[in-house]
């Protein structure tokens, strides 16, 4: 450290000025400068090194600048008429036949290439003189910058670039350019936008960046990449919408970004490509800016592509897997995300990464066949949520609860299922202890209680959810209405539905209107229900007309008015009224949207059964099960028919019913028919239990399944 210091001190103090093959110590000159005697310093230089006036001044200015005496440097530079010097350097325009127009030189790459061959040699001769003067102007700009006079500095920097533009009207040729001149040019190109930013003139900064990047300054790769990155950062974060680059800068057929964000993304992607091609060094910040920009646009698949193309070893592979998993998950590709997480969470990789564990658990919690894995991830997350990460313990509990709930859905035995359900509830309760206000947990608790038919608790959470979210989430209103309907408080449920309709924009009213129709049916007001369905159909038609591909609303998604559902609901309604002609019409309409549907076959079967067409009914139900083997309602309907057909069919009916109950444990009709079969068998205790279950479940049956909320 001390060595460094002394070395740098030495560097700072002992200086030499060299020119024309002669070198001289600066001590004398510096002393004169310190006395404020610029002229004397200048003349001693001119004598000692045989220089002309401008050369001497330029050297002096640089000396003052390096000594940190920027004000002195300014005084020296002010003594030279830089403008005049620049003008002297310019070749006459006629010399160059290719420079047909001033504005075209900047963009026309092809004409530049042609012009390169016959660059005149005069410019090469004058380059040395030019570099001297331009370096002087550049240092003047730097001095002004250090004094906080940014606008003046920017003006001088612009002068440098203007002069270069006039000396090389075709852009700087790749060869034959003097190093020092090129260095000054590159530095000026890089400095100018910074100066405008410091001056607070963002509009000028924007054009300075574009000028730097779109004109041919012969910048080296690193310098060009730095400017591109700085510009991308400026575009991304300045908050200034400057409009697209001007038409003058456009090359035929080339893509021109139309706004700041587009331009920033383009630049960052160009930079990433340069990294891929090995033109520039890896720079993690480029990827971070791009990640920020693309996730704001919800374009994470593009980001994954960029990440995948990085050479191995550039980013640590676990980091890459985890980021890729986040990208996939954000784009809804949970399967891919989980595969990546499985790799990164492998015991030889980074098995304790909390974010990865939680994301994996979340993905698993959405699929009952993955839920068992999810339980493991959630438990690991809970174990690892220690110390500063202690606050994530609650999230782990929540995921554990959700995974157990999924597991309960596919549990084979009744006891196992109820055990899993109460476990799920337990962990959700634990989760809410950590985060009282977490709306998601409140909702999940509401649904869990509702599914277990703890309707009072469910009601409590449903209300709380609406409070916490301020009624801003549609499914909260639906949960409250469904819980009320399960309590047979239909009129209150209808009030809630109406309130929800008031709080909802037209296109999101579909699920609420469907609910409203079902509530009207439950209140024995079929005509009102038909009206509601009619309104729904009108809405569907209006929606089809006005929905362009651009309309992506966050809450619409799955809630979008589903025409198939409307026709199917209407068919069921007409069926309950025995309006068979109308049922047939509705079914035909529904089939146009979805040809093979277990639901539709069920409605058709019920219609046939009511009309006494037993064979047709049976084949409709069987087709439904063949189409969708886990479709419980038709299993129940078949069992009901079979149990009436005589003792031979009873065992089949019983099997079908227990199968149906495994799929839908709260299906009250299944419990009823099972109870009746048990009664006929003379197993009265079991029959009483089953019938009791049927009664309780029917009494607490919502108008739509609670599962439809998830």
């Amino acid at each position: 450290m001390a060595e460094d210091d002394s070395q740098s001190q030495e560097l700072a103090t002992v200086r030499e000025l060299c020119a024309n093959g002669v070198c001289m110590r600066t001590t004398d000159v510096e002393a004169k400068l310190d006395e404020g005697n610029i002229h004397e310093a200048e003349s001693s230089l001119r004598e000692g090194l045989s220089l002309n006036f401008e050369e001497a001044r330029a050297l002096l200015g640089r000396l003052e600048y390096q000594r940190g005496n920027v004000e002195g440097a300014l005084r020296v530079f002010d003594g030279i008429d830089l403008q005049a010097a620049i003008q002297r350097l310019q070749p006459s325009v006629n010399e160059n036949s290719n420079s047909s127009s001033f504005s075209s030189y900047s963009s026309s790459i092809s004409s530049h290439k042609k012009g390169r061959a016959n660059r005149d040699s005069q410019t090469a001769v004058s380059q040395h003189a030019a570099s001297l003067v331009l370096e002087g102007v550049y240092l003047k700009a730097k001095s002004l910058q250090k004094l906080g006079r940014f606008t003046e500095a920017a003006q001088d920097c612009t002068n440098v670039l203007d002069a270069v533009g006039r000396i090389f009207p075709q852009g700087i040729p790749g060869v034959q350019v003097e190093n020092r001149l090129q260095e000054t040019v590159s530095q000026a190109v890089e400095l100018l936008p910074e100066l405008w930013k410091q001056a607070g003139n963002y509009q000028e900064a924007m054009s300075a960046y574009r000028r730097g990047l779109l004109h041919l300054w012969n910048l080296d790769n690193d310098c060009c990449a730095r400017i591109q990155k700085a510009f991308a950062v400026f575009l991304l974060y300045s908050g200034l919408e400057a409009g697209p680059p001007s038409l003058g800068a456009q090359v035929d057929g080339a893509y021109v970004p139309k706004n700041n964000l587009e331009e920033a993304i383009l630049l960052l992607m160009v930079l990433v490509q340069k990294i891929h091609q090995g033109i520039i060094q890896w720079d993690p910040s480029v990827m971070d800016h791009l990640t920020y920009a693309l996730s704001l646009c919800s374009q994470t698949p593009v980001l994954s592509k960029q990440l995948e193309e990085l050479k191995p070893g550039v980013v640590q592979r676990i980091d890459r897997w985890n980021t890729l998993a986040l990208c996939c998950s954000a784009a809804g590709q949970n399967k891919y995300a989980l595969n990546l997480l499985r790799k990164s969470l492998h015991k030889h990789e980074r098995p304790d990464d909390l974010t990865a564990l939680l994301l994996a658990a979340k993905i698993c919690s959405e699929d009952s066949h993955l839920a068992a894995d999810g339980v493991g991830y959630a438990q690991r997350a809970i174990n690892n949520a220690q110390g500063v990460d202690g606050h994530l313990k609650g999230v782990g509990f929540r995921m554990l609860g959700l995974c157990l709930r999924q597991l309960a859905k596919i549990a084979f035995k009744d006891t196992e299922r109820s055990h899993l359900q109460s476990e799920a509830l337990l962990f959700l309760d634990a989760a809410i202890f950590f985060e009282q206000d977490n709306a998601d947990i409140i909702f999940e608790l509401g649904v869990q209680h509702a599914e277990q038919r703890n309707l009072n608790a469910a009601l409590h959470y449903a209300k709380k959810y609406i409070d916490v979210t301020g009624g801003s989430v549609l499914k909260g209103w639906r949960l409250l209405a469904l819980v009320l309907s399960a309590q047979h408080r239909f009129s209150e449920a209808a009030v809630v539905t109406d309130a929800a309709l008031d709080e909802t924009a037209k296109w999101e009213q579909g699920p609420l209107l469907r609910l409203k129709a079902k509530l009207e049916i439950s209140q024995s007001r079929p005509m009102d229900a038909i009206e509601t369905y009619r309104y729904l159909l009108a809405l569907v038609q209006a929606q089809r007309k006005s929905f362009g591909p651009m309309r992506i609303d966050s809450q619409v998604g799955d809630d979008k008015v589903n025409e198939f559902e409307v026709w199917h609901g209407l068919a069921n309604l007409y069926s309950s009224l025995s309006h068979w002609k109308d049922v047939e019409i509705c079914l035909r309409k529904a089939r146009e949207m979805k040809q093979y549907s277990a639901k539709l076959l069920q409605t058709e079967g019920v219609m046939c059964q009511e009309r006494g067409e037993i064979q047709e009914a049976m084949s409709a139900y069987i087709n439904a099960i063949l189409l969708e083997p886990s479709y419980a309602p038709c299993k129940v309907l078949i069992s009901a028919m079979l149990s009436k057909m005589g003792s031979n069919s009873v065992p089949v009916a019983r099997t079908l019913l227990s199968d149906a109950l495994r799929i839908e444990p709260t299906n009250h009709k299944a419990w009823y028919y099972l109870g009746m079969i048990q009664k006929d068998d003379g197993r009265l205790t079991e029959a009483i239990e089953s019938l009791q279950a049927a009664y309780i479940l029917e009494e607490s049956d919502p108008v739509e399944s609670f599962r439809s909320l998830l």
């Binding site: 560097l11 002992v14 200086r15 060299c18 020119a19 050369e55 330029a58 000396l63 390096q66 790459i109 530095q187 400095l191 963002y202 900064a205 990047l213 991304l236 974060y237 300045s238 908050g239 680059p245 090359v251 057929g253 080339a254 893509y255 021109v256 706004n259 587009e262 993304i265 383009l266 993690p284 971070d288 990640t291 920020y292 693309l294 704001l296 646009c297 986040l326 954000a330 995300a337 500063v388 202690g390 606050h391 950590f434 977490n438 998601d440 409070d467 916490v468 979210t469 301020g470 009624g471 801003s472 989430v473 549609l474 008031d502 709080e503 924009a505 651009m550 309309r551 992506i552 966050s554």
Partner: protein, 363 residues
């Protein structure tokens, strides 16, 4: 809720006329002096003067220098005594109701045709949105705030027409102004990924609760579009509300967990206080929020205070995104956090515009 907007629009004239205050009179006489200098912008419009006059009936002290300034709207935007008075009124527990004078003033001011005056209203959007969203769950009358937010939303709806805001993500196999590429012959039609950054706006006359996040989000988008003209304090206020919205505070939670025996009452209190404003953060609200925070963190404003406020807000939102396991939010916030660290790292910030400091200076 619905009558909030209409009532405040109709009452504008009455609030102006029935409040002739002492400061209002001299304003008119001083105004012409601004015209004498040739470089100053056109004389302060009567709209600005009447706006300042009606403001003086709402807040206790309006500096007299304001009306005499060559650009009163600009001064109004940047005057710290005025903004702190308005801010504290907006944060008052009873603010935001339909008959609130200040809300009316903001509503009317936004409806003047003077874009400079509209900036003054936008300056307070962080507080309005912040207080409004945090108070929703308390079922208070907030029609005044809603009227302002709806006015901004309506303004944007008209301005954007039927167009969504989109971004094309380029395909680098096609040449662009910033890079060369051999255009592939196979797909001449350039394959661009079209990303909708803000979907088409439906007109909303009332604040429907399911559209609330969208309406506030659009107000924030409007704020963002003018953010380079906003005073730093306004942006800092926004950052502070983001922290409240996130409702996450790692340190406090750790404390809370350690002393379960509730022997530390104050700590528990602090925890409750911190967590009070937690609100749902759907993407339509989070996306504009993150854009604003990106500017606050990495924009060319040069304010250390703002940088700190932004990094603290982003930290909270990162924690929140982990709690929500929201992949997109995790990606956006964690990348900002890494960039924050790099911004503080001197090694990553070399000044390449500096010349080489050699001890031999040659021609």
């Amino acid at each position: 809720m619905s009558d909030g907007s209409s009532s405040s629009s109709s009452s504008s004239s009455s609030s102006n006329t029935d409040s002739p205050t002492a400061t209002a009179a001299p304003n008119i006489t001083i105004a012409p002096t601004g015209v004498t200098t040739s470089e100053t912008p056109p004389p302060p419009s009567s709209q600005t003067q009447s706006s300042i006059r009606s403001l003086s009936s709402i807040i206790s002290s309006v500096p007299s220098s304001l009306s005499s300034s060559p650009n009163p709207s600009f001064s109004l935007l940047h005057d710290s005594t005025i903004s702190s008075q308005i801010s504290s009124l907006l944060r008052h527990p009873d603010s935001g109701s339909g008959d609130n004078n200040l809300c009316r003033w903001l509503y009317d001011t936004f409806h003047t045709t003077d874009p400079e005056l509209q900036l003054v209203v936008l300056r307070f959007i962080p507080i309005i949105a912040g207080v409004y969203l945090s108070r929703i769950s308390r079922r208070k009358a907030l029609a005044g705030f809603e009227a302002i937010l709806l006015a901004l939303y309506a303004h944007e709806t008209t301005a954007r027409g039927d167009q969504p805001m989109t971004v094309h993500v380029p395909d680098l196999s096609q040449p662009s102004i910033y890079h060369e590429a051999k255009p592939s012959i196979e797909n001449k039609a350039t394959e661009l990924n079209l990303a909708v950054t803000s979907s088409t706006l439906e007109p909303h006359g009332t604040m429907r609760s399911t559209r609330r996040a969208r309406i506030v989000g659009v107000a924030l988008e409007l704020y963002y579009s003018k953010i380079s003209q906003m005073p730093v304090t306004s942006k800092i206020e926004f950052c502070e509300f983001c922290e409240i919205w996130a409702g996450q505070d790692r340190e406090n939670f750790k404390d809370g967990e350690e002393d379960h025996g509730e022997n530390n009452g104050s700590n528990e209190m602090h925890k409750v206080k911190k967590k009070e404003g937690r609100i749902p953060l759907p993407w339509e609200l989070l996306q504009p929020t993150l854009r604003i925070l990106g500017h606050c963190l990495l924009g060319p404003h040069g304010s250390k205070d703002l940088f700190d406020a932004a990094s603290s807000a982003i930290n909270s939102l990162y924690t929140r995104s982990l709690h929500d396991i929201d992949a997109k939010a995790i990606l956006a916030t964690s990348s900002l956090l890494r960039l924050e660290k790099m911004a503080l790292d001197p090694k990553a910030n070399i000044d390449y515009s500096e010349i080489e400091m050699a001890n031999v200076i040659s021609l």
